[in-house]
Amino acid sequence: MLRFIIRRLLGIIPIFLGVIIVSFALMQMAPGGPEAAIQGQQRRLTNEQVDSWLARWCLQREDDLGALALEFGGWAGILNCRNQGSEMLFSEQGGLNFLPAFMGGGDNGLLHGDLGNSTNTGRSVQEMIGERVPGTLMLTITALVTWVSVAVAVGVYAAVRRYSLFDHGMTFFSYVFYSLPTFWLGLMLIFLFGPLLGWLPTGGVVNPRDWPAFGSPQFWSAAGERPLDAFLDIGRHLILPVTTLVAVNIAADSRFVRASMLDALGQDYVRTARAKGLATRVVVGKHAFRNALLPLVTNVALSLPFLFSGAVVTETIFSWPGMGRMFIEALGNRDYFLLMGILLVTSMIILLANLVADVVYGVVDPRIRYD
């Protein structure tokens, strides 16, 4: 198992390198590029500030392949932009720049955990992403838990009561929800529960009248004093976004669970269990259920990227302070460093999630051997 994990981790490296190159290339091919984005800020910045910023990231004013290579080297942290010529390979400490700082390397670029600065706010990208991670995780993890538990409950019940009214109703609704455009469903929910019924809040994480802005230090200290209130308020704000986010996934996976549960119920060992007089509850809950869940693990892992894409949609519509909405804002501002940072972080999460799914699959299904 350990060997398998290590092998898979090594396999991730080339793909991640590819992701790095693709995100860099995408931003470079885009009209203008980071140079134009920072120069667009010149109303607020002096020429010296712009020049020093450009120099900090090896951004050249020329537009040829050499300049591109320098820029990539600076962003990745292979080159030290403070030096000139072949000296760029070395850090201030005299070591090769790509080495970690404690081994005499530099402190700039991806290799040293520095994703650059936002061209819009000037703040460091990893800091900005870090602020938005709690929001996104809160949304996606709640969504994931809701998604899996509802899909399993509905799917299993429909399989056990096959061809019942519930089964037919569930099939119908899963078809309908599977086809609804996510963002439109969100808009309609906003209208229904917001202006029309007035039952639920339709945007944000907490009620701005009662709480400081979510994510700020003031918020965390206020939430620490009244944790139950904070929890309940966040919970109320989560209902609509989570419903929007998981409707499609629940629709697809409840049918999936139903099919795999029916498959399991038809197996010989289920008949054996029934024949030896076990209660239906035990046969369904223990023998069939556990085996029916196996395929769901892979299915959920494969759908994780869609959860992140869905989070972009949902966060935008429900003004949720997460990475997805920051991505849309960064697109609007042409904030290249921030965009590259978000692309890298999300891709990394997805690659790791796939790895975890493979490992979990091996743990829950003892028939799988990885050597």
Partner: protein, 317 residues
């Protein structure tokens, strides 16, 4: 499907052979014409009620896309007197209501169909062609070609699709629907390529491929003339889903104002125009364009299901 030698397990062939071996009356023989694979598939498709419903829904949308703008041309200057701040609610005269300026939402939906459906279909054509070529080459030749193409596919699938589509639409899209189709098409083939590759890997080992190779048929002819028709079932199913996905994607990208320029009417731009109006309570403006998308997508999904069942050679007519 049709070109291949008949599969001896199907009923129709069995019936046909039986008819040929017995000295039956002339009219009896005529009634037992063997059915081709396509005819069998069509027979199964017809019996699939949901699939028929889906085809009718999608067919209606295609008709709307073709004739809608001709019958109900959109005239931004054709303004009704607005009696409520958010626009007039649906009424017998204006079944989908009006927008806040008093223009017909029905005309918006009828005219948006053309661009939305076109984007769905063209995206599907681009993505399917690319996906088939890449997947077929990888699956047929294997080895170096396979591993390099598939690493590229892995890479494309590692970056969340929506993120990369939005970046491309924001930076390379000019508001031109054609550019948007190209972006969607170029970015949505990797999943299909992986599917085609898997199908080709198993088809490659079939006897008829060996036979074709033995009589000296060229590689490309084997791959695209002999193997491709046998992989067509799953490909068609994913192609229908690609149409649905592209329609929804267009709506979202345009909704964020990164898609089609707002002067062109699609279901996405119709929704984008209605942004911020929900608070005023005029639900009908965003509701009906979204409903049009939902109905189209439901139709396509039902159709895909029917095609999947119909083309499954293990299923019986």
């Amino acid at each position: 499907m049709t070109g291949r030698a008949v599969d001896p397990t199907t009923e129709a062939v069995a019936a046909g052979e039986a008819g040929a071996s017995q000295p039956a009356p002339d009219d009896y023989e005529v009634s037992l014409q063997p059915l081709s694979q396509m005819q069998l598939a069509w027979r199964r498709f017809r019996r699939h009620k949901l699939a028929l419903v889906g085809s009718v829904l999608f067919g209606l949308m295609v008709l709307l896309a073709i004739f809608g703008p001709i019958i109900w041309p959109y005239d931004p200057l054709d303004i009704e007197r607005v009696t409520k701040p958010g626009g007039n609610p649906p009424s017998p005269g204006e079944i989908f209501g009006t927008d806040s300026l008093g223009r017909s939402v029905f005309e918006l939906v009828a005219n948006g169909a053309r661009l939305s459906v076109a984007i769905g279909v063209v995206t599907m054509l681009i993505a399917t062609t690319t996906g088939i070529v890449v997947g077929a080459l990888a699956g047929y030749f294997g080895g170096f070609v396979d591993s390099s193409l598939m690493r590229f596919v892995d890479l494309m699938l590692a970056i969340p699709f929506l993120f990369i589509v939005l970046v491309a639409a924001r930076f390379f899209g000019s508001g031109d629907p054609l550019v948007l189709m190209l972006i969607f098409g170029v970015l949505s083939w990797p999943g299909l390529a992986r599917l085609v590759r898997a199908l080709f890997l198993s088809l490659r080992e079939q006897e008829y491929v060996m036979a074709a190779r033995a009589v000296g048929v060229g590689h490309l002819r084997i791959a695209f003339r002999h193997m491709l028709p046998n992989a067509l079932g799953p490909i068609i199913v994913s192609a229908t889903l690609l149409v649905a996905n592209a329609i929804v994607l267009e709506a979202f990208v345009s909704f964020l104002n990164f898609g089609i320029r707002s002067s062109d009417i699609s279901w996405g731009t119709a929704l984008a125009r209605s942004q911020g109006t929900l608070i005023q309570g005029n639900w009908w403006w965003p509701f009906f364009p979204g409903m049009a998308i939902a109905v189209t997508v439901i139709g396509i999904n039902f159709m895909g299901d029917g095609i999947r069942d119909a083309l499954d050679p293990r299923a019986r007519a």
